[in-house]
């Protein structure tokens, strides 16, 4: 028998279907919880509203990333092709009026930088990559990739309480309520 002390991750409750999950999510939101999440095998339209999630700040990062890419391209093309080493092809001028030739570069770098900012910004905001997640300790959670719907309320939420949170989950229709403990070493 292990005597190790384990950290409590939170409560996990199963819901019958997407509609039940949606309604339960609205109630958890109204109860004022902040650190909790819904799990479903497929995306549910409008669930982010039901969870009371705010818009991500990612678009602002991407806009700045794209703008950086655009400016980099202008600077790169202009400094090399007009300033440092003009490549004169077919009598095209080597001044600002050659800008049409720079458009593909501007376009590509804007897309590239926005793409990178999207990918890495997303990973950063989600805290990925990570080796493990405490919720994987739950055996029944494997069903979420198949046909199960879950809500998990984390213990680090300031409103979390061992009894009241369990009562709330029961009240809103949660089944198989489980206290998940972090089993990672």
């Amino acid at each position: 028998m292990s005597t190790k002390v384990r950290r409590v991750y939170g409560y996990l409750a199963e819901f019958k279907n997407a509609s039940q999950l949606y309604k339960a999510a609205e109630k958890v939101r109204d109860a004022g919880f902040k650190k909790w999440d819904c799990f479903s095998p497929y995306p549910i339209h409008g669930l982010d509203d039901a969870m009371g999630m705010k818009r991500s700040i990612l678009p602002y990062f991407v806009f700045i990333g794209g703008l950086t890419g655009f400016c980099t391209a202008v600077a790169l093309a202009y400094s090399t092709q007009v300033g440092l080493y003009p490549t004169v092809v077919q009598g095209k001028p080597s001044n600002i009026f050659t800008i049409a030739a720079f458009f593909p570069v501007m376009f590509e770098l804007t897309i590239l930088f926005s793409g990178f900012t999207t990918l890495f910004g997303l990973l950063g905001l989600m805290g990925l990559p990570r080796w493990n997640h405490p919720i994987f300790a739950s055996e029944q959670f494997a069903g979420v990739t198949d046909d199960k719907f879950f809500i998990a309320i984390e213990a680090r939420d300031s409103q979390f309480s061992a009894d009241e949170t369990k009562a709330l989950l029961e009240e809103i229709g949660g089944a198989n309520i489980e206290l998940v403990e972090d089993d990672s070493e």
């Binding site: 339209h45 039901a50 678009p59 806009f63 077919q90 049409a100 030739a101």
Partner: protein, 443 residues
């Protein structure tokens, strides 16, 4: 989240646009459009000289501008049916009504059948007639090769397509072909309204026929643009031209749909079924086609600019002569950069006032885009210009006046037919199986 719409919220016999509410506007538009068109037809048929030539270009500009909007309506109707979409069911009837203005537009196109108009607009027609008459023993192609004007040699290679008989056949084929298919799409939708056994029969039929309707649409738009606009200068060719016109059509069509939906909501219709989510999606489509327009326009310009082959660059040289390059460069900022930045934010696309402003703006810049396609050819074609330096952006004030008059007349006529379509049927397909899905849209 707003109240969840159920079938109880949808009136059983649908919403009808009250005729008395728009009767005044429709009558005024009908009067301006009707009298104006009649006077214009008479002017284009019987006056002579430079006035006639200049006004022919004004008329083509105005008609083509409105035609692109109707093409946009056809495109969104077919696309909505073809892609089996659910989001836009509540605005689908508006698309159908906008697209169905297209067959009526033939009324405004009558002047293009007059030889007195054709000789100014499409110079290959008089060249073809003169050379075939001068060399009766040869085929048209050989006759043009024997012409003393070297420009006609370029036409010689194109006589399989650019010959008067085929041109006139195509003229009617566009209106009959696409007109029939948009009528059919709208008819399936209307039948659903009164179907005693409501179901998916008409919906699936509309989807099935949308597949080839879309092909007819693509062919009609491309070749109409080639026949009427690209052939203004028969020696020039661009494989991108049809796509370029299409990008503007889809954009301005969507802007018109947003304006219509907003106007109807202002009058108290569509309140249950059209929400800010719909404006968000339609705004996103405007945004997408703003970028697509820029992409296509630039790729058309870029390859010709880089390759720098004389017979390919004619179009762009003309549009960079005199002060026309103000408009050419201006369009990059006005038609792409400004709307791109304005439509970037998602919360703005959900604000009705903002959408009204940006949609009107899009229609105005699209009008400038069509102006830029057609009007620069006027100077050389009508013979008003003797020196290249005299190519002015807006020509004489008299010509600009003609452009504006033609625009007002044709837009009035368009509004008349559009309002006729809107008042004749229910404003949204209230018995479509997906109307609730659309009303409760969330994205």
């Amino acid at each position: 989240m707003a109240h969840f719409i159920t079938s109880k919220d949808i009136p059983a016999d649908g919403e009808h646009l009250d005729k008395s509410k728009v009767a005044k506007l429709q009558n005024i538009c009908g009067l301006i459009g009707g009298v104006g068109t009649l006077v214009s037809i008479l002017l284009l048929a019987f006056t002579g000289g430079t006035f006639q030539g200049a006004y022919a270009f004004s008329w083509l500009f105005a008609v083509f501008f409105v035609l692109t909007i109707c093409f946009g309506g056809c495109f969104w109707t077919f696309l909505h049916n073809l892609s089996n979409s659910g989001w836009g069911t509540s605005v689908r009837r508006l698309m159908e009504n906008l697209g169905f203005v297209f067959p009526f537009m033939i009324v405004f196109c009558i002047p293009f059948l007059f030889p007195s108009v054709q000789k100014y607009l499409w110079e290959w027609m008089p060249a073809y007639a003169t050379e075939t008459a001068a060399h009766p023993d040869y085929t048209a192609s050989e006759a043009l090769l024997h012409s003393s004007d070297p420009h006609n040699h370029l036409l010689a290679k194109k006589t399989f397509y650019l010959n008067p008989v085929f041109w006139h056949v195509r003229f009617f084929a566009f209106f009959i072909g696409l007109g029939f298919f948009i009528w059919l799409a709208r008819q399936f939708s209307i039948r659903q309204d009164t179907d005693p056994n409501p179901g998916t029969k008409n919906l699936f039929a509309a989807r099935k026929h949308a597949s080839w309707s879309m092909i007819i649409f693509g062919v009609s738009l491309t070749f109409l643009a080639l026949d009427w606009v690209m052939a203004l200068d028969f020696s020039w060719f661009s494989t991108m031209f049809g796509v370029y016109v299409f990008a503007g059509s889809a954009l301005s069509g969507m802007a018109t749909l947003i304006l219509t939906a907003l106007a109807l909501q202002k009058l108290g219709y569509l309140e249950k079924v059209v929400t800010k989510e719909h404006y968000h999606i339609m705004g996103k489509l405007c945004f997408a086609f703003t970028i697509f327009w820029a992409y296509v326009t630039f790729s058309q310009f870029f390859l010709y600019w880089y390759a720098n082959i004389p017979e390919e660059t004619r179009y762009f040289i003309l549009r960079n002569t005199g002060n026309w390059n103000v408009l050419s460069i201006g369009l990059v900022i006005l038609h792409f950069a400004l709307p791109f930045l304005a439509l970037l934010r998602s919360d703005l696309k959900k604000k009705p006032l903002f959408m009204v402003v940006i949609c009107i703006y899009i229609l105005v810049v699209h009008m400038l885009d069509v102006y830029h396609m057609i009007i620069p050819e006027r100077g050389p074609s009508v013979g008003l210009v003797t020196h290249q330096e005299k190519l002015e952006l807006f020509g004489s004030s008299f010509q600009v006046f003609g452009d504006l008059v033609a625009l007002v007349i044709v837009i009035s006529g368009f509004l008349f037919f559009y309002l006729r379509n809107l008042t004749s049927v229910r404003l949204y397909p209230n018995r479509d199986p997906r109307i609730l899905e659309s009303a409760n849209l969330s994205n």
